[in-house]
């Protein structure tokens, strides 16, 4: 399932990017691959959404970028998490968890009531 802009909210994509970058410096193509891999092909991020988001995060100071040599020998732009980015990731993860738990509770109780 490939997601266009309208399906995956911008905030959520930002959070996913931050999470992927958290484990170490990584370039844009690899971020796209990783999201696809880890979600077991459920999420596929298009370049049209990925790169604007990456640049936005970089401009907000949540990511820092540097040009380094990649695994293929060519130079690529590698992104890594800044301390602010780490703090933002924690906040957003906590929010998301709280939100999804609350929704899950409501859905469960609705099922229970329905039965």
């Amino acid at each position: 399932m490939a997601l266009s802009k309208s399906e995956l909210p911008q905030g959520t994509l930002d959070m996913l990017i931050l999470q992927v970058v958290a484990s170490g410096p990584i370039h844009g193509y690899a971020i796209a691959q990783r999201i696809q891999q880890i979600s077991r092909d459920a999420l596929q991020v298009m370049q049209g959404t990925l790169y604007p988001a990456l640049h936005r995060l970089e401009n907000r100071g949540l990511l820092a970028a540097a040009w380094q040599e990649s695994e293929t020998g060519r130079d690529a732009k590698f992104y890594r998490l800044t301390p602010r980015g780490r703090a933002q990731l924690e906040t957003e993860t906590a929010n998301w968890t709280r939100l999804s738990e609350a929704i899950a509770l409501i859905l469960q109780s609705a099922e229970g009531a329905g039965q």
Binding site: G48, P52, R74, A76, K77
Partner: protein, 874 residues
Amino acid sequence: MNWWRRLLASDRLDAELDRELRFHFDRQVEDNLRAGMPEEEARRLARLQFGGLDQLKEQCRDARGTRWVNELAADIRFGFRLLANERGLTLVAVIALALGIGVTNTFFTVVNAVCLRGLPIDDAGRVMYVAARDARESDQGLSFPDFTDMREGSRAFSGLAAFVSAPVVVGDEDRASDRAPGAHVSSNTFELLREHPVLGRDFSPEDDRPGAPPVVILGADVWHTRYGADPALIGRTIRVDGRPSIVIGVMREGFKFPDNATVWRPLALMPGVLEQRRDSRSLSVVGRLRDGATMLEATAELNAIASDLSRRFPDTNKGVRTTVIPINDRYNARITDPVWLAFMTAGFLVLLVACANVGNLLLMRATQRSREIAIRVSLGATRLRVLRQLLLESATLAALGGIVGLGLSFLGARLLSLTLTENAPYWVHFTMDARGFAALATVCLGSVFLFGLAPALHLSRTDVNELLQDGGRAGTGGIRARRWTAALVAAEFALTVVLLAAVAVGFRNFQAAQASDLVINPSNLLTMWVSLPADRYPTPERQMELCDGLRERLRGTGVISSTAFASALPFGGAATRTLAIDGRPTLNGPPPNVSTLAIGGRYFETLGVPVLRGRAFNDTDGMPGRENAIVNERFVAMHFPHHDPIGRRIQLTDPDAHAPAPWLTIVGVSPAIRQRPQGLDPDPVVYVPLRQMPRSTVTVVLRHSSDPTSVAAMVRQELRSLDPELPLYRLLTMDRVISESRMNGRLSQALITIVACIALALSVIGLHAVTGHAVAQRAREIGIRMAMGARPGHVVRMVLRRAMAQSCVGLLAGLGCTVLWERLLGDPTQRFRMTDPVVLTMVAVLVGVVAFAACVWPARRASLLDPISTLRTE
């Protein structure tokens, strides 16, 4: 990379973006190849997956957050290019705006200097002016005993100081004396004002004690002009008002507190101040509030002291309380005075006319730009973006106009400085300061909205489809635009009418005043002033002795045919007294006021004015038992309209004096020579002999038969031989005196005439441009009419009819506004009001003729249109 660096390094960022996306693309292709696709297929798939590359790059660039700066820069560049292309329109618009903004700024500079800026005192907001208000609600100064009590009892002020302005005579052994404006000040005055002498030392409390050796501090002016900026002057002795005084300090350039003073002496040295009675309220008092104290606290505290004084000294202080106001409130002119309001309003009117003009020009150009706007809109520009761009163009015009206008206002302020500031207080300078620049910026910005908003709104609302179908000629939009331009032209004319009415009525009043008042014969009359210091001329006899001696000597010179002395010159104001007439019961209400003048020598003979009834004064008039008076015709008309005033007795009371005034017998009637410069009719004047009103200065008027310069030198000589310490000052011919008394009136007249002419010129240009544009718009219609048989005369009449209709509407609106102006801001003391029928007729005729001239040329051009060529071109 922060925002600023992102803005400036956009090229490098673009290159990086390119590399990044290319890297991603190549990796995608590699993966596709590894998955087994052929080369072509791999590339094609990768390209599909990538999507629109340019759009992607746009979005990444947007994410930088610097897009609006680039848009703004592009808009500004485009605006400049557009203005450069339409040089004619730009020039006219910039000139119109420059005139409007220039006039407004000049007027504001004046108002700022006179009403807003205030004295150049450090932290002037904490310096207060203290005055006494008596039971009759009239404001007075403080008396010395009251001041001392306040100073000792006050905690809210860190210091209180008293001062009195008094001109002094500065003399040395070897030179003629000079008269200089001066002041007596408390020893802590300069300290309170946070000023310090640049040379020498300030006053100390020891200098301000009775019996202390006399000291004096000089101002920079006197130090430079009289003593050549000699630093060794400190410690030397000079004679001030005849008394040897040691110079202890020199103040900085530009400091002339309180009243253009250049010589300061301690207050204790003022004759009579220490013995001043408690009800002799002549001291001005200022004080600086202590840190943390408020004006209200200070007022309450001083009022408590005042009520205590009124308890202890009921004879002199009953019902007297104190008022405390910021010092600038006391010395600044009130901006809410009708004079200043009218002044500022006139400036705004010109600005409005200029903005209406430029608005019109932009609206006319709008019809030509609608096509371009339609294309922009169809390419995706939002209405906001279009509006922003149009407003930016207007802002550019306003900025250019503002810069030129600033230059014009510098010129204007310079001109006004030269002519107005001769006797002005020392803190009035017609210069731009921070407040002036802020006002200028506001005016420019405001004018953008005044003239730019309507055309921009109108233009940004263009319907794309309608426009592109119509071949670029707006259909219904054209009618709306035409109504706007017509309204603007009418508004311009209305405003111009108001200004012209003000000019015309001012002119009429001026002429009337000039014609009626010149009763005296001013040719070959020389005037001058002499001071008579109280310590050497204490009694009237001594003063008369000097005057008689001078008269004798002057007669002996042979070129002076007659000499007169007086307490004031004609047109030079006079003292006011309240009048009581013997044998007439006092009416309820305040008693009438008259002007009074002390005269000596052959006053009326010297002025060339005959005494109409009775006789002039002789040498014995004024002595005890012979208190006589001469009245002028206006006095007779007001108080003795049906009787002969000769022999009747009157009493003139000085509201500040204590002893009852003597009863005077009228012995003569003179023609009505005016003392007060303004006002409808000359004032009623009562003349008394000089010995009856002893003075500290006297003016000498003499009729001579030689040239003024040599006569002046002669008079100086004679006076020096009588008393070398008496200076002669303010030497002027009578012609000059009269013209100077009229100077203010003439000046404001000239100002408003210039302003009205500017407004008229702008209106004419506006009407001309609008009519010409309308003709161009209607060229096709006119061509058709002519092709169908209309004669050139018809065409001309048609064009003229519409144009004149616009101006007539404007004229009528203007007449209405004039009535409104007169009601709100009119001056009731003038003979002619702005609603005077003659004035309005003159203005209406002038405007009608000018409007006709403005549109007859385009009308004629319309009639010369060739129908074939107009029908052929689109």
